[in-house]
């Protein structure tokens, strides 16, 4: 029934594209060419897009000829690109429900060696606080995210970078680390100081070592899972105090470029807010002779139509962020804003102003999307007012159908009472005819005692045996449950995974100060290679926007996706903590009054007693006793 799964499930060795400075310049030149063409906005858009796409390819071929004057001749190898570079981009995607999704990505690439003996001492674009942490703990990959809210896949589609509610941290250490647990403990403490979050609550009771999920997203053939640690804190709150240090890690801070838009009063007044940091090694160029370190900082936010949009279907940068863009970050080699206009090819759905002739097509999340591009490094983008405020105004009241997400997950707790319960995880495969396998990772805290013999996996009413199961039982107060399964999802079906559990009674000091709120169970993670509707771009050497190049792509017919389910909130049997004091008072009173009275009634007898005589009489009595005469 269970055997070791040997096929590499997630593409991990494909190098992610790392554009050099040359390419960035060429793209810029290409964009300029497009800019000068006098094509009107409404017509010829598809042709323009096709031409522009051809322009993208032409860039590749003619690269050798287009070498700028300052560079060397094509005979010698191209000059080494700058040691570090920074790119920023913002993607705005209107959602079918009327909400709007904005995704910031900031990427710093740095060619250095963190692991050599001598310390790296000169930091320019890369944040020093993070660099010191990485070299001290020999970290190969670090992924941390802070999320407030839950991503509603069925209403909003797929996010560019998924994240579970709360805080999630997973780290791949270098294989030179001898004590991974000790390094993990110290790393979480240091990160809690950097990000002002309670990451120090990550300890052995909520850390797991997945055996198949969370393969490295960067370079590397090392798949020894001993160097991987994963932990999630579903209760972690995200607020300005987490955003402030996150913004300070950017080269321009929040003073210039796209980061000026990040005002906390608007960002946290949203349906979904997620800020993340991803650090990994990638290839420098397509030859992959050397690796560079890539740091991506991402911020995803979904603004609600009614709370932020006042019910009106009209969005602008000022309405979303209460700021407009005035300049690109001077340290950035590219700074772009993409607006998703795929559903609006002729401009009939909404109107986008100011207009821009730049278009870009990208295959992202299994779909070919078209974007209008605003290049902030070009001063002309800001126009006369020296500020850029994009405005999207909807014409039609109805919007078309959304592409149904192919993979979707749900989770809930069933049962009643405070003793037992059942966890149900539902996985939806919405593809009409293709089946594909998914890897389900479940981390359940030790105080929910899972009965793994009650585990059932059913699809379409029939039993669906997983081809790989890895289960690590919990140890009270030491280790959580870890369950990983590879399940084949039949096409157009719902697969249900159920497990029964029993709730434990915690010790007095283990209850939180507000135990009646409940205890959280972290989200399940569903990782899959989902069949794609259009051919994915496996050519990683092409210049592509940051949002489409995060997950490495190995084959054309599928793309990697990760879906997080809802976290669970479970009530444990909670004693009334004011109870002992009240009970003691009441009991002692009852005992004293009731029992004491009864005892007295049953045992007390009354005797008559003479009052004691005065002093003179007592002296006389003493003398009489001595004389042997009867007393007075």
């Amino acid at each position: 029934m269970c055997y070791i799964y040997s096929e590499s499930f997630v593409a991990e060795t494909n190098p992610v594209d790392a554009p050099s400075d040359n390419k960035a310049d060429h793209v810029h030149d290409t964009m300029q060419n497009l800019d000068s063409r006098p094509a009107p906005y409404v017509k010829d858009q598809t042709q323009e897009a096709a031409e522009e796409e051809r322009q993208w390819e032409a860039t590749e071929v003619k690269e050798a000829d287009h070498v700028p004057d300052t560079m060397q001749t094509p005979d010698v190898p191209p000059p080494t690109p700058a040691k570090d570079q920074f790119q920023e981009e913002l993607v705005i995607r209107p959602l079918h429900s009327g909400d709007i999704y904005a995704s910031f990505q900031f990427r710093t690439m740095w060619d250095t060696d963190f692991l050599r003996g001598s310390k790296v001492s000169h930091y320019r674009l890369f944040p020093k606080s993070l660099g010191q942490v990485i070299s001290k703990f020999s970290v190969r990959e670090l992924h941390i995210s802070f999320t407030q809210g839950y991503w509603r896949t069925m209403q909003w589609g797929q996010p560019f970078l998924p994240s579970p509610p709360g805080a999630e941290l997973w780290v791949w250490f270098q294989d030179t680390v001898t004590d991974v647990d000790g390094a993990w403990k110290e790393l979480t403490n240091v990160l809690s100081g950097i990000f002002c979050a309670s990451l120090n609550f990550i300890d052995s009771t909520n850390t797991v070592q997945p055996s198949a999920s969370f393969k490295p997203l960067g370079l590397g053939n090392v798949t020894d899972q001993r160097f991987l640690r994963y932990a999630v804190l579903p209760r972690e709150i995200v607020c300005t105090e987490n955003l402030t240090p996150w913004k300070k890690l950017l080269p321009c801070g929040s003073k210039a470029g796209l980061a000026v838009l990040m005002k906390s009063e608007k960002l946290f007044h949203s349906s979904f807010h997620s800020q993340a940091l991803h650090f990994r090694p990638v290839c420098q160029d397509w030859k992959c002779k050397s690796t560079v370190w890539e740091l991506r900082q991402t911020l995803n936010v979904v603004f609600d139509l009614h709370t932020s949009g006042q019910g009106k279907r009209e969005w602008s940068l000022f309405k979303m962020f209460s700021r407009t863009l005035t300049e690109a970050c001077p340290l950035a080699s590219s700074s772009k804003v993409y607006v998703d206009v795929t559903d609006n090819p002729q401009g009939e759905l909404f109107e986008l102003s100011p207009t821009t002739p730049l278009l870009s097509q990208a295959v992202v999340l299994g779909d070919r999307r078209t974007y209008s591009v605003y290049d902030l490094t070009n001063q002309a983008t800001f126009g006369q007012t020296r500020s850029l405020n994009m405005l999207l105004r909807w014409r039609a009241a109805e919007s078309g159908d959304m592409l149904r997400p192919l993979l979707h997950g749900e989770r809930y707790v069933a049962g009643y009472g405070l003793q037992t319960g059942e966890i149900h995880t539902l996985m939806y495969n919405n593809h009409p005819y293709r089946a594909f396998p998914v890897l389900l990772l479940d981390t359940v805290p030790w105080y929910l005692r899972l009965y793994i013999h009650t585990l059932t996996v059913t699809s379409k009413g029939r039993d669906n045996k997983p081809s790989y199961i890895h289960y690590q039982p919990s140890k009270d107060r030491l280790r959580p449950h870890l369950l990983e399964m590879l399940v084949q999802l039949p096409p157009n079906s719902v697969t249900e995974v159920t497990m029964q559990f029993e709730r434990a009674l915690l010790k007095w000091t283990e209850y939180t100060p507000d135990p009646n709120h409940g205890f959280y169970v972290g989200s399940s993670v569903i990782s899959a290679l989902v069949p794609s509707v259009v051919a994915m771009d496996t050519n990683s050497t092409r210049e592509c926007p940051l949002f489409s190049s995060f997950f490495p792509c190995k084959e054309e017919s599928s793309y990697f996706m990760r879906v997080y389910t809802e976290p669970l909130l479970v009530n444990l049997p909670t004693p009334d903590f004011s109870m002992p004091y009240n009970v003691i008072c009441l009991t002692c009173t009852v005992v004293a009054v009731g029992y004491g009275s009864l005892y007295n009634l049953l045992t007390r007898t009354f005797q008559v007693e003479e009052p004691s005589p005065g002093l003179a009489k007592r002296l006389a009595n003493i003398i009489r006793r001595l004389r042997g005469v009867p007393l007075l």
Binding site: N189, G193, A197, E241, S264, H269
Partner: protein
């Protein structure tokens, strides 16, 4: 004359400032305690103490609480006049981390080795420390998060530990709770000055509710303290006697108290900025420094020292 001026700068004997600001209450209806702490944080930052010298402990999150109608804000005045949360805040201990144990460990410096710098009180014997506590309290104790409490004896002992370990030069202790004066009754270490919002047997009252947010926004004592501090700027010469007059009984309903018998200096000579602001070391010099040719001189100095060292080492060897 110049020496006299320089002497004035260091008359208080402190060279750096620290602040430990603690809010001990959990739950949405205790919004005002978080607002209290944040308003003191805001004043202290404005007067110059940097985030690296402030240990801010908030037991619950009010700004991004789902009940907050205006997320990422904490207001101190009704009609949303002043957002004390701001855009640039760093909370060091939050949520369940605010416990009696962590608070005492921060004060005494006995933290586990993996604790990051931002969570430590790295004061020395020339530090002036401001400690501000707010929450629910009683006669002789302060409640932490509705589940544990710290007594005045524990607090006094913690301060004594700080004194014996030379972790402060002077310490100002402000507490805004019911019966707050009971918390400083047991102090016995030198150089401690304490202020409380109410005497033993009195309750500290809250100031004003905001109907949009639905809770009381601030406590009276800290509200008037904030108003007083808004008038202070880094070069201000207001002294502690002015601080003692903040919030008289007519405004506060309770009687604020203070204790200065353990303090060596006269409170009239102690500037507000000695505790709420940050020392900036300025050396006045009248001479011009030539930056063009110092390298030769430095190397020649090094040569001299090296020679001296070799002579010394040869002497010790023999």
């Amino acid at each position: 004359m110049l020496q006299a001026k320089a002497g004035q700068f260091f008359s208080s004997g402190h060279t750096n400032n620290w602040a430990v600001l603690v809010c001990t209450s959990r739950f949405w209806f205790n919004y005002r305690h978080v607002a209290n702490t944040l308003s003191v944080y805001r004043s202290v930052k404005r007067l110059g103490i940097p985030d690296s010298h402030i240990v801010l402990m908030l037991a619950d999150d009010m700004a991004c609480n789902h009940r907050n109608p205006k997320p990422a804000t904490v207001f101190s005045h009704k009609n949303m006049e002043l957002n004390v949360y701001g855009d640039d805040v760093e909370v060091d201990y939050r949520g369940y981390e605010v416990t009696v144990e962590n608070f005492l460990r921060v004060l005494t410096g006995r933290l586990p080795p993996s604790t990051p710098r931002s969570k430590r009180l790295l004061s020395d014997d020339h530090s002036n420390i401001l400690i501000y506590l707010t929450g629910h309290g009683g006669n002789g104790f302060l409640k932490f998060q509705d589940s544990e409490e710290i007594s005045n004896v524990e607090l006094a002992d913690a301060f004594e530990q700080m004194w014996t370990k030379r972790r402060y030069n002077e310490l100002l202790f402000i507490i805004d709770t019911c019966q707050g004066a009971s918390m400083y009754e047991r102090f016995y270490s030198p150089n401690l000055m304490a202020l409380a919002s109410s005497q033993v047997g009195e309750d500290s009252l809250s100031h004003q509710p905001d109907l949009a947010i639905g809770v009381h926004l601030m406590d009276r004592y800290t509200f008037y303290l904030l108003e007083f501090l808004e008038d202070i700027h880094p070069a201000s010469t207001a002294n502690m006697n002015d601080l003692f007059k903040v919030c008289p009984k007519s405004q506060c309903v309770s009687t604020p108290g203070h204790r200065t018998d353990l303090f060596l200096r006269d409170p009239g000579n102690v500037l507000i900025t000695d505790f709420f602001g940050s020392v900036r070391k300025v050396e006045i010099t009248m001479e011009t420094i030539n930056l063009t040719a110092p390298m030769v001189k430095v190397t020649s100095h090094i040569k001299c020292y090296r020679e001296e060292l070799t002579v010394l080492s040869s002497r010790t060897k023999g």
